[in-house]
């Protein structure tokens, strides 16, 4: 449940951004890479718990999973790398290089002004 800590950090960032504004947050968009191992259900639950009693209460959380890019050294193809099945999606070989994983990012929020 590292999602709990991530949810706390999301809330802290949002509250810091909105502290001078009156209203409530209705939607939160985050993105993550593959190595972050974010479980959607756990993340939704953790967010709901962290958001209770804040201006984010009831806000919808959208989680975007950004694929990890691999480049096959055999056929040269750029492909979405599946950590759980690490091979080239075209030729099936497992000689490849992996790009950088996307960071955990708080992308945007939707704010309803009073």
């Amino acid at each position: 449940m590292h999602e709990a800590m991530i949810a706390e950090n999301i809330l802290e960032t949002i509250l810091a951004q909105t502290k001078t504004k009156a209203g409530k947050v209705t939607r939160v968009v985050i993105s993550c890479g593959q190595i972050n191992a974010i479980n959607d259900e756990a993340m939704q639950f953790a967010f709901e718990v962290a958001a209770a009693d804040t201006i984010c209460k009831g806000a919808k959380l959208k989680i975007k999973h950004i694929p990890l890019k691999g480049i096959c050294r055999s056929c040269g193809r750029k492909f979405d790398f599946d950590l759980y099945d690490p091979k080239c999606s075209k030729c099936g070989k497992s000689d490849f290089s992996i790009g950088d994983d996307a960071p955990l990012l708080l992308e945007e929020i939707e704010f309803e002004k009073k």
């Binding site: 709990a4 951004q17 972050n36 950590l83 960071p103 955990l104 945007e108 929020i109 939707e110």
Partner: protein, 228 residues
Amino acid sequence: MLGVRKNLMKMKIKIGKKILAKNEDFAAVNRKFFKKKNILCINMISSPGSGKTTILEKTIGQLKKKINIAVIEGDLYTKLDAERIRATGVQAIQIETKGACHLNADQITNALHKLDTDNLDIIVIENIGNLVCPSDFDLGETMRVVVLSVAEGDDKCRKYPQSFAKANILLINKTDLLPHLDFDIKKVKKDALKLNKHLKIFEISAKTAAGMKNWFNWLTEPRTPVSP
């Protein structure tokens, strides 16, 4: 005022901030500290029961006359592991996470204040036994070591790829049990290297000391300080 609509205005606010920025800031502080003091800091990650503490006990026993080691112990509630480490005669700081599944960089920053770091060569952080969560949290370490014991099964690299993809070293421990198990060590090495071709792998048994020499040699080999 009856019938007047509340003036609600919806707006999108772009934020684009790293969610774990606070952790990364503390990790950067720690990394800078290790570099300044020329300390090799190792973040040790594994499932519970893989033998991290035993590996440390044996490592300290063998190397403490040559180099100065200290340990930061992460545990959910108990101080058992820190007591085991202190019994070997080196400094150990306990971080009790009260149920949290991983260590954060700020906890390490705090622990460093409690350690006498003068003349230290190596600090080992024994993370919480968990192959998922700790891999997301940079502690500012110089090297990340993942431990896998053969009793856990040979599918762990496939099931928990995150931990292996981010490690520098893989210690395959409890190899003395191999004759009793269907653990395909070649397959594990192949799977691990697929995820991370730079991974250095040592097969060890902390219990019988088989293979431990290679690990000791790696720990004590001269290395150029890493850039922060």
